[in-house]
Each structure stands twice: as structure tokens, then as C-alpha cells.
Amino acid sequence: MAPTATPDLAGRTGRIRPDRPMVAVRGLQKWFGPLHVLKDVDLTVAAGEVVVVVGPSGSGKSTLCRCLNRLEVTSAGDIEIDGEPLPAEGRKLARLRADVGMVFQSFNLFGHRTVLDNVTLGPVRVRRVPRAEAREQGLALLDRVGIADKADHYPAQLSGGQQQRAAIARALAMRPKVLLFDEPTSALDPEMVNEVLDVMVSLAAEGMTMIVVTHEMGFARRAADRVVFMDDGRIVESGTPDEFFAAPSTERARDFLSKILQH
């Protein structure tokens, strides 16, 4: 089954629940040694909201994402996921990570496991879902991202687009409260970008809370509620896609847009 074609995103008002902040970042600072990478970042993402993060390379987008599930340890500031402060380490942190899905630029599928085994590993080992049930749900997820026929293949036997869709299914299998995407289509050949974006758009339409680092302005226009522009470790601009693309208010954002929209 092919991934759902572009769903109609009109009429999804009410999807966002401003009363329920799913991700709350306050005063986030990150240093790598002497390098100050995140400088006092504040960001609140409501349940159901889709936030696209753009900005020049090196501006700290990946680091921000990675701080949200603590793949990077923060230097200062607070992060809450669904009202819970991010635990520092151990089992509590592992449990929280289960609620925060992450999709990587380089897929990072487990090479020694079949696609279906990639998808069921988390549910079986972390959520303690019975294996048969996890398989059934895993197959359903693979079907929904359009690669049910690849369930028993190994990652290396899939195209990049299929691998990234498998990675999305793996993240979804945990039933996360929020999904982080760090340039999910940047490693893909151009003809495979859309099959991944289509899956993401349909997730957005269903009300998944998403933070998406991407340079795909088409996706931002189609699916984002808000575009956040980062530069040099700060969020310098934040607005609806229409506002942001039509009239960016900072010089840096105008400059950035003119560069990426040339292509």
C-alpha cells in the first residue's frame, strides 16, 4: 500500500491543545567545551502542534533536538516533556525516551535485525508488549508507512526512502507523545524525499506532536503550525509558515530564505 496521499489539512483546527504543553524548554544552554552552541533557548510546543525548525548549518538545530531526549546532556536550563522534567539518567530517563520518538538523518536502523524486528524491539523490551501483539502492531505500522512487504527484509535490502519509513514506524511503535525529526530527508535521493514527507504529513494531520528540523520548505508550508528560525544557537524568529515565508522579520532569516529558496 502506498503511503496516504497528501491529506487535507484544512479543518484541523482544534487539533492543537494550547492548554497542554507537550514540550517546554526554558533557558536551555549547551556548551561543547568552550563552544557555546545553544544560548538561552526557550521553546514551548503544545500537544498536537507541528513545529518546523530551520536555520543555517551549525546553528544548533540538531543539538536542540538531541537535548530534548537527552542524547546530549544540557549545560543549563529546564526541559519538560508533557509536564515531567527530564530525568538525568537511569531507568527513568530510558522510560522518558520511550515517550519521545526520534527519527535520524541516517536512519540508524539496527542492521542485524529485520525491519519488523526493528519495529518490535522497543515494544517488546521496553513496553513489555507480548511478542505476538507487538508483531501484529508492527505489521500494521509497516503497512501504514507503505512497506509491509519489506517486513522480513534486512535494512540494507531497502532503499533509503524505505529505510526512513521503517525508522518512522519504529518510532511510532513506541506510541510516543512527541516525535523529533532531525533532517529526515537530507540523506535521501531526491526521488525518495516525497514518500517520507507524505508519511510525515499524514502524521501531522492525525495530531501527532512533532518537532521537525528540515530544509523542506514544502513540508513546512503543508504541515507546520509554526516555523522556528535558529541562528547561532538562538531562536531568532518564530511564526506561522505564512508569516515566516512571506515576511521574515529578521535580516538573518531573509538572507537564509533567499539562499535555500533559490534552488
Binding site: 542524547l71 531507568r91 530510558a94 522510560r95 519521545v100 520518538g101 526520534m102 535520524f104 521496553v126 518510532a171
Partner: protein, 214 residues
Amino acid sequence: MDALTAHLDELGHGLVTTVHLTVVTTIGALLLGVVVATLRVCPVPLLRSVGTVYVEVLQNLPLLALLVLFVFALPTIGITFPLFTSAAIVIAAYEGAYLAEAIRAGINTVGVGQAEAARAIGLTFSQSLRYVILPQGLRAVVQPMGNICIALLMNTSLAAAVGVVELTQAANNVNLVEAQPIAVFTGAGLAYMLLALLIGRLAGTLERRWAIVR
């Protein structure tokens, strides 16, 4: 040739003891190797140090010295094991250090992205290791691990020094009677060679069977 055929029984016993010692020790060394390699990559600095000290100490002492120390020093503090058990413990501990280093090299071949993806779905450190990192890391070093097991087989002959009558000691005993060192030790050597070939074959087969589709 007569020197060999006349003592098949004795030599056979020695061979069986060598194989027994090799199998038991390999299993112990593999378990230890996995544990020590895990210590060496774990996030707790103290445990990492324990792993490092273990490897450094055992790799930097001669196996023979360890065997002699263990067998003759421990009884002075009231601990005694049967000789075979003593030899097995020491050889497993010693080869475990080498296997740990090979396994750690294997772990290092697994990209950081794999560990990050494992953590990102909520696996704990030990779960990531068990379900994601080790299965891939071990496969990458089957051949070097096989070579260490062959070295282990050869090193079991040092157990002779602490009174275990394995193949080399049996050959030596036969030679004391027959005074035919060339025939006796060539025979024993061929037996070692066959066993080593067998281990090499097994490693090759496992490597092929476990190859990750790339």
C-alpha cells in the same frame, strides 16, 4: 610409530583432557570476555577502571607465572582447588582478557548511531548492549576471537607445569619411557594442529552464518 601406538591409551587420555580443558576454558573466557568488554565501555567510570585494570594485569603477566602463583600461593591462604579446576580458572581468566579486547574492538565497529537509536527507543544501557551493540559487535570479530581460542588451545599445554596430564604432558611421559621425542611430539603436534584447524573452521562457518546483510 611404535612409540605412539604402544601408548595410545595414555596419549588418548591426554588428548581428551586437552579438549576438555579447552572447551571448558573457552566457555569461561567467552563469558568473562563479554563481561569485561562491557565494563570497559560502560558509562560508570569506576566500572570502566575495573575493566581496564583487569585487562592490563592479565595481559601483562606470563600465563605460566599466573598458573604457578594460583596453584602454589592460594593453598597458603587455605584455598585449594583440584589441579584441573585451577588450570581452567587461570587460563579462562587469562584468555578472557584477550577476548575482552577483541570484543571491545568489535563493539567499536558498531556506529554510534546504533547506540543512539537504541537509547532513543527507551532501551537501557544493558539492553542496548544486549540487543543492539553486542550482536553486531561480536559478529565483526568472530575470526579474531577464533584465533584467540586457538591460542587458548595451545596455552592449555602450560597446565602441564602444574601437574595436569594433558596432551603435552602425556607426550612427555611417553617420551620418558620410549625416548623417541621426534615421533612422540610430532604425533602430539599433529593432534594440536587438527584441533586448531577445527576451531578455525568453526569460526569461519559462524562468521558466514552470522554475516549481516549489507
